[in-house]
Amino acid sequence: MSYYVLEFDSGKCTGCERCVLACNYIKTGYYGTRDSRLRVFAWRDTGDFIVTGCYHCDPAPCMEACGVDAIYRDPKTNSVLIDYRKCINCKACVYACPYGAITLGSDGKVIKCDLCAGDPACVKACDYGALRFIRADKVGIDFAYQYAISLKSRTDISKRTWSGVRPG
């Protein structure tokens, strides 16, 4: 369990889309959103922002849907990758993905997140700590901790903290 996982905290996300821009740039060399492996959905009226992308499922539906075994798991990073030498661009994986994380790039090929071979550009671009790359054994620890704090401070309202709010 020494691999790393991408974790997203919507409470900290500000909707700046720097992750999208960074992803697009590192994969293609131009600034835009078309070839980003991540998407940001924004509800600006309420301040809700959600980043969606590949969760590298296990077992992965895209891998199971692929008829030519072009999708495989990298044992080192535990990420789900596409082998473009085998891929026939049939898009079966696109429809198999429950999260819409596989898309068609501007060159017409199916594209998905590859965790930048273990050093994701989106995480480096996130200045708010909403996207983090953490060791698998620590997944969810922050959420659990926030919950613990909320239980702890339930009796004393002045000590309550909220996710996404920096203390004054």
Binding site: G11, K12, T14, G15, C16, E17, R18, L21, A22, Y25, T28, G29, Y30, Y31, G32, T33, R34, R39, F41, A42, R44, D45, T46, G47, D48, F49, S106, A125, D127, Y128, W162, G164, V165, R166, G168
Partner: protein
């Protein structure tokens, strides 16, 4: 195509429902960088002199900047440019909403909209194509409902929408254009859009933006992020609190407009200051590409306005709709902020108008019959909520008058009411009282779009007492007119060039790095040197002054409201202070001299040649 531009400008004629695309004029791009600079040059070409701002002949220009859409930090700002219905002069109004960036990805550096649709329309711009779509069903909707309806109709949640609210449709002279929750606030651009029967512009793009010098660009971006943002104590306030933190500084300096500018500090400020906002903050938010994230999303959980969820208040809003109306309750402020954003009103002008009307009522100049039974007293938030809605829909006779802005409203009411109107050229003053910072008076008087704080910000150096002219710090005496004009001039250069590049005013105050950023994005060698950057700023200031003088602006318009010179502050640290007329005249004279403008405030031919405007500008010089 040099980096930073996509090279296409769309000319949209709403009357004929046709458009054509022209290549971006690269001479203009090189000289005027982008945004307001390029837009000003196009306005000179295409907007005839003396056009009525609300007629079909006026142009509405949405222009992007070279840094938009790249990874440059805090650089999503883009302007909407037109002739203002509030002032009758130049108007550029910026926001960091997502539309500017998206417009560039959609393949346009800018769109220039003329004419008037016979029925309500909205535009759908997608990847180089523009569609005219019916908007009958959207007419009358509030701003967030409009945005939602358009996204649903187009079936794409990632469409970015520019839209007006009911106030824009009713041609309220200070109506805003909303850009995905951020506002093009000042000067009434929303009314221009409403006069064209244009409800919204939806934009979606899958295109690309490239920079000219990728390696230099990455270096300068890294340097800016470190020096201008993450290790900059000034930026830290923005990161931690947002613009509202400015209120601590102005309240202490006596520059916080209170009760229609009657005084400069507010005893209830702690009820609506940055701490009060942080207490009800549920979320931070940011403009696209921005690592600062200065927006506060707040939720009011108690009191009569419980349940109000809004983004804001920014400092200007908290001041003009808060202290300027005698409101010290965060709930009431949030409600007014929410209403203004949803109905489409500029919070600064709205606060100015409401404060002014309240003072008239308290002085007995307007009666309770005229207010329609509203007890319009400072601090009466319920009356303000009612009146705000009435103004947006022009519901009552008084609201109909107030919807015209203080200058026109006072002319219609008469009865000495103009004595209490606080505006420059018709644009209500923002939240830095010149009686606490004399140079701020000059800044307002000579700002290109009327009373505005985003053309220079001398209050900072004045109150802190230090200013760097080049590398040499000079001492600044706060209560004196000396050495003030030069600060305003230099800051105007920086702001003009920086905004033209697309960088936010809330970040990055180093001319050298800003110049290098423009150089890296566009590849234009002249910006590598800080002098080239400053000269470009000066060029843009002069270009816009040419536009304004052509529209009839003279030195007589560069004045301040009588209150600033005659009514001393009644309390606080600046008690008894006014801005003496002779100080103001001295600063103004110096300003014209440094600028190389004549005594009438007109740029001379020599000055224009020195700053290097293109030949085409000179033929507009008829003086």
């Amino acid at each position: 195509m040099p980096g930073g531009y996509v090279g296409r400008i769309a000319f949209i004629d709403l009357s004929k429902q046709k458009y054509h695309v022209e290549p971006l004029n690269m001479t203009y791009a090189r000289l005027y960088i982008g945004g307001k600079g390029i837009a000003a040059r196009y306005l000179l070409d295409y907007l005839p002199r003396g056009v009525d701002p609300l007629s079909p002949d006026n142009l509405l220009v949405v222009m992007t900047c070279p840094a938009n859409g790249t990874a440059a930090p805090a650089s999503p700002k883009y302007p909407i440019v037109t002739k203002s219905p509030l002032t009758g002069y130049w108007l550029d109004t910026h926001s960091g909403g997502a539309v500017g960036v998206e417009l560039k990805y959609a393949g346009f550096d800018g769109v220039i909209i003329s004419g008037k649709a016979d029925k309500p329309l909205y535009l759908y711009i997608e990847d180089g194509k523009i569609e005219f779509r019916r908007a009958n069903h959207l007419w009358g909707l509030r701003i967030s409902d409009t945005r939602r309806a358009i996204k649903e109709e187009l079936g794409d949640p990632q469409v970015k929408v520019l839209s007006i609210g009911p106030a824009g449709e009713k041609l309220v002279k200070y109506a805003i254009i909303d850009s995905e929750g951020r506002q093009h606030g000042r000067g009434g651009a929303g009314a221009v859009m409403g006069s064209k029967n244009l409800k919204a512009i939806a934009v979606r793009g899958s295109g690309r933006v490239e920079v000219a010098l990728p390696r230099e660009f990455e270096n300068i971006v890294e340097e800016m992020e470190e020096k201008d943002i993450f290790k900059n104590p000034e930026a830290e306030f923005g990161i931690k609190w947002g613009s509202i933190s400015l209120g601590w500084f102005t309240n202490e300096a006596g520059a916080l407009p209170t009760r229609n500018f009657q005084t400069g500090s507010f005893e209830l400020w702690s009820g609506i200051d940055a701490l009060a906002v942080a207490r009800v903050r549920v979320k931070r938010a940011a403009c696209r590409q921005c690592p600062i994230g200065c927006h506060n999303v707040i939720l009011i959980t108690s009191g009569k306005y419980a349940g109000t969820l809004t983004e804001g208040p920014e400092y200007e809003t908290a001041s003009l709709l808060g202290s300027n109306l005698g409101i010290g309750d965060i709930g009431a402020l949030a409600k007014l902020n929410y209403l203004a954003d949803e109905l489409g009103l500029d919070t600064i002008s709205l606060g100015g108008v409401l404060g002014w009307a309240t003072e008239l009522y308290e002085r007995g100049i307007i009666s309770i019959e005229e207010t329609g039974g509203l007890d319009l007293r400072f601090g009466n938030d319920e009356a303000y909520v009612v009146l705000t809605e009435a103004i947006a829909y022009r519901k009552t006779p008084l609201a109909d008058i107030l919807a015209e802005g203080t200058r026109r409203a006072c002319e219609r009411i008469g009865r000495d009411s103009c004595r209490y109107a606080v505006h420059v050229k018709g644009l209500e003053l923002p939240a830095y009282d010149p009686r606490a910072a004399p140079a701020m008076g000059l800044s307002y008087a000579v700002a290109d779009r009327g009373g505005d704080h985003l053309r220079s910000w001398p209050i900072g150096p004045e109150v802190l007492g230090r200013y760097w002219l080049g590398a040499k710090p000079i001492a600044i005496e706060r209560w004196s007119p000396d050495n003030k004009a030069i600060i305003v001039v230099q800051q105007e250069h920086q702001y003009a060039a920086k905004f033209a590049a697309g960088v936010c005013d809330f970040c990055c105050w180093d001319n050298e790095r800003l110049g290098l950023l423009i150089y890296a994005v566009t590849g234009f060698e002249e910006y590598k040197d800080v002098k080239g950057f400053e000269l470009a700023g000066e060029r843009i200031v002069n270009l816009i002054r040419v536009f304004n003088v052509r529209e009839g602006m003279t030195a007589k318009d560069d004045i301040l409201p009588p209150r600033i010179h005659e009514d001393p502050h009644v309390s606080g640290p600046t008690k008894g202070r006014v801005l003496p007329r002779e100080w103001f005249e001295k600063m103004k004279r110096e300003y014209y001299e440094i600028r190389g403008w004549d005594a009438e405030g007109r740029p001379t031919i020599d000055t224009l040649k020195r700053v290097g405007v293109d030949e085409g500008v000179l033929k507009h010089v008829t003086w």
